[in-house]
Symmetry: C2
Subunit: 264 residues, 2 copies
Amino acid sequence: MNFQFDDATKLKASSDREFSAKVYDGWDIGGNANGGYLLALVAGALCKATGRSLPIALSCHYLAPVNDADVSIETQVVKTGKSFTTATATMRQGERVIVMASGTCGDGFPGGTVSYATRDMPVLPAFADAVPRSTTTPGLPGLMSKVDVRLHPDDTGFATGNPNGSALVRGWCAFRDGRPVDPLALTLFCDALPPAMFNLSGAPGWVPTVHLSFYLRGIPSGGPVVTEFRTNHLHDGFFEEDGLLWDTNGALLAQSRQLALLPR
Amino acid sequence: MNFQFDDATKLKASSDREFSAKVYDGWDIGGNANGGYLLALVAGALCKATGRSLPIALSCHYLAPVNDADVSIETQVVKTGKSFTTATATMRQGERVIVMASGTCGDGFPGGTVSYATRDMPVLPAFADAVPRSTTTPGLPGLMSKVDVRLHPDDTGFATGNPNGSALVRGWCAFRDGRPVDPLALTLFCDALPPAMFNLSGAPGWVPTVHLSFYLRGIPSGGPVVTEFRTNHLHDGFFEEDGLLWDTNGALLAQSRQLALLPR
């Protein structure tokens, strides 16, 4: 079966280190390609360039918006190690730099029996019972036509003018066309929910991401994932947003952190 | 006055985008230059290359250990914007890549009156009353001869074989020679405390950092800073460590996050 995410993240090698790709319309938030979608594109390029299957630790600076456009992704392998390989990936539309990314990729985790966790997966209503994002903001186009985001009912106040004052948004993420969730999907899902700070005083519109980091912490089983996004510190026009993505069995799959700008 | 940190982070321009520097001995942990010290070196290069004064958002992949060595730092400006400029910086010892960094630098914060915080500065004993790191592990060389780290007494159990089982380490950081704390010092201090996970089951020795991100969130007043490092998720040989650095007035100065390897 042809899944939309696979089509939208297809890379064509134009040399051993350069790829061409298309940033498709329909994966956008209000007309700009979603940051997680762009991360998935460069993560794919980083894995191909390094010859590794897993994007373990990614860094992405967002430098210009883009949508519905042909882009190039130039990669450079910086270090090849025994377990990990590190590379850079720069996405350009013509001469314009869209994102500057780097990543350490691998084929597995180091392994080990020691484990420790201070935080459990949040308790959400069942996927079928959570609040579809598409109903909270009717007519919401783009990314929500591809990703089925279902929110915790307590976290939807931003959409009705009743933000609860807590910068927390929890919800499910799955592909609408049933594509199984894999590590690359997590790079998309880590930026697919409405910003947690929308629940402080309502949605201020476009909040541009300056930088995002992504750490893969587990291999998804394939089903919908539970996500939790939280802002702990907003001041001087900046806020961070920390994301946790979980498998339904409670295993942590990924962590993300972004620094974003609050429009004045 | 000549401060040691300024000497140890001196950059000599060998072209408009390449610098030479020396990684000095004495800023190491057990013979390897500390990750925060290397971050300070590349942060300085990123600021010089971008012509900006503040390292706002940094990403650093640690690729090989180094100590007491001449290095080169090659930079490349990727995007110059109105408020921020983004560049890469690669530190090499000869042909060997030591760190691959990128950073968005600026000359100030976006500004804005909205603020929100869920977490307060931890309460520590006064600087004079906290536990000097140098007394917790006698003979500890290197970085601790330059940075005066003073720990919360509850968080020192790792040093005496009595870890309290909570992956949390809090403490003060200041320069021993009285150098005022500035944004560059924060890049050093974000990796200057013993790993929080030492308090789980004791110090396993060298825990290599794979990736570190640093966000500058405030301008230090110059005095000692309060720091707090926490690991929330350790499994499969990886753990993250989140750091918060505060001014004594309770203002958040910086956030760090790193992904590190637990030796088997």
